[in-house]
């Protein structure tokens, strides 16, 4: 979706401000939010792309107005309610009022190491890769209303395939519960001037990781 999250190339957000000796968490609740997200993911309540899409669907003024982990928390509330795991009445009450829905498994302290493990996104390919390193490609000019990994600044642009990463689960499908729909994934490189016009710094190149459905031969 053409949301506020897709901010590559926007002006006006100001300087980057690194924080010296930054703590891992700035408040204990941030850690609780991160850990709950991991636990619900492990339980199979939703996919990581579901969470990402839920964040993107927050109103732009909310997205920009809250902190990173507040965004996670608000997205998690959206997911538990929309997916029927929790009633809005329960969140308001701060207690369970109805029986829970069955989940695939539960993250307990004994298996926490498994919960820290990042799953593989490789999937069986459905067809041979259409492109190889060195191929010229043009990204499609698409504006889906749902989750996509093709950022706005890189749509309709001419680039070159640099790396082929294998066949991966396709987040555009996963985020809307349409299954893995495996697709080939490529690193595609663009000249700065292709993205930002003739005044761009000639020493800069930018790459994205693009799924095959985003690309046309050029």
């Amino acid at each position: 979706m053409d949301g506020i999250h897709d901010m590559g190339g926007m002006d006006g957000f100001g300087k980057v401000e690194p924080e010296p000796d930054e703590p891992v968490f700035h408040a204990p609740w941030e850690g609780r939010v991160l850990a709950m997200q991991r636990a619900m993911g492990y339980a199979g309540a939703w996919h990581i792309d579901t969470s990402r899409f839920a964040q993107e669907r927050l109103p732009p003024q909310v997205y920009l107005g809250v902190s990173y982990y507040q965004r996670w928390e608000l997205a998690m509330e959206k997911n538990v309610v929309e997916r029927g795991f929790v009633g809005a009445d329960e969140l308001a009450a701060g207690h369970a009022l109805h029986p829970g829905k069955p989940l695939k498994r539960k993250l307990t302290a004994a298996v926490v190491k498994d919960g820290m493990t990042r799953g593989s996104f490789y999937r069986q390919s459905q067809a041979p890769a259409r492109f190889k390193p060195g191929d010229r490609v043009r990204t499609k000019n698409i504006h889906p209303a749902t989750h996509t990994r093709l950022p706005r600044y890189a749509r309709g642009k001419l680039g070159v395939v640099q790396l082929v990463h294998g066949c991966h689960a396709f987040p555009d499908a996963v985020a809307v519960d349409k299954g893995d729909d495996p697709q080939w994934l490529y690193t595609v490189v663009f000249d700065g001037s292709e993205l930002w016009g003739p005044d761009a710094d000639p020493t800069v190149k930018v790459s994205i990781d693009a799924f095959e459905p985003y690309l046309d031969p050029a």
Partner: protein, 210 residues
């Protein structure tokens, strides 16, 4: 007016924070009571991120690549495989790619859409990495962003920005500082900063080492 505004802002800020704490507590209580999550598991996850996972893991990888040409070759060929062989606390996963800085090329990593970051080797991303200023500008004005970090590269150095838009995660292999011949891997690792592995910084010089 200005006073009113400030007052309102401070007030809103204060109540917003406590509102978040209340919301998080409510969510955790409901999820626990419904049997979905185990608070003890949450404690263990938080402890792991606070104590075990962090940029010291990535620094070890970089220091080894600086010391061992065979490992460096393996790292650049297949970082997931090379790093997994070192046996880290959290398994590195299948999708790590290492990119090498040279005198001619500087690499920098961003996730414009959210916050993708190689957690397994660098820990959780810092706030600035997830912030709008970094996400918006890194792909358009990387030299300006580097200036925010106090880094100035030669005009002719090529800059490559990697936008992590899928599940691939990128680790920058910074250049080994001069004057470190004969240093042990352990000592070299003290020169490897988190930012040097994101590409918003350079490895420390021996004179800057603690």
């Amino acid at each position: 007016m200005a006073h009113d505004h400030d007052h309102h802002h401070e007030h809103a800020h204060g109540s917003e924070l406590s509102e978040t704490q209340l919301r998080v507590r409510a969510l955790e209580t409901v999820l626990t009571e419904k049997g979905y999550i185990d608070p003890a598991a949450l404690d263990a996850i938080i402890e792991a991120y606070e104590t075990k996972v962090g940029p010291h893991n990535g620094a070890r990888v970089v220091a080894k690549a600086w010391s061992d040409p065979k490992f460096k070759q393996a790292l650049l060929a297949d970082a997931s495989k090379a790093v997994s062989a070192l046996g880290h606390e959290s398994r590195v996963g299948d999708h790590l790619v290492a990119v090498e800085n040279t005198p001619k090329l500087h690499n920098m990593v961003v996730c414009t859409l959210c916050s993708c970051y190689p957690w397994e080797v660098l820990g959780l991303p810092p706030v600035w990495y997830k912030s709008a200023p970094y996400r918006s500008r890194a792909v358009k004005d990387p030299r300006g962003v580097l200036a925010d970090f106090g880094v100035k590269l030669p005009k002719e150095t090529d800059i490559r920005v990697w936008d992590s838009t899928a599940e691939t995660r990128f680790l920058v292999l910074p250049m080994r500082p001069a004057g470190t011949d004969g240093w042990s891997e352990e000592k070299l690792a003290t020169l490897v900063t988190r930012d040097s592995m994101i590409g918003t910084g350079l490895a420390k010089n021996p004179s800057e080492a603690a």
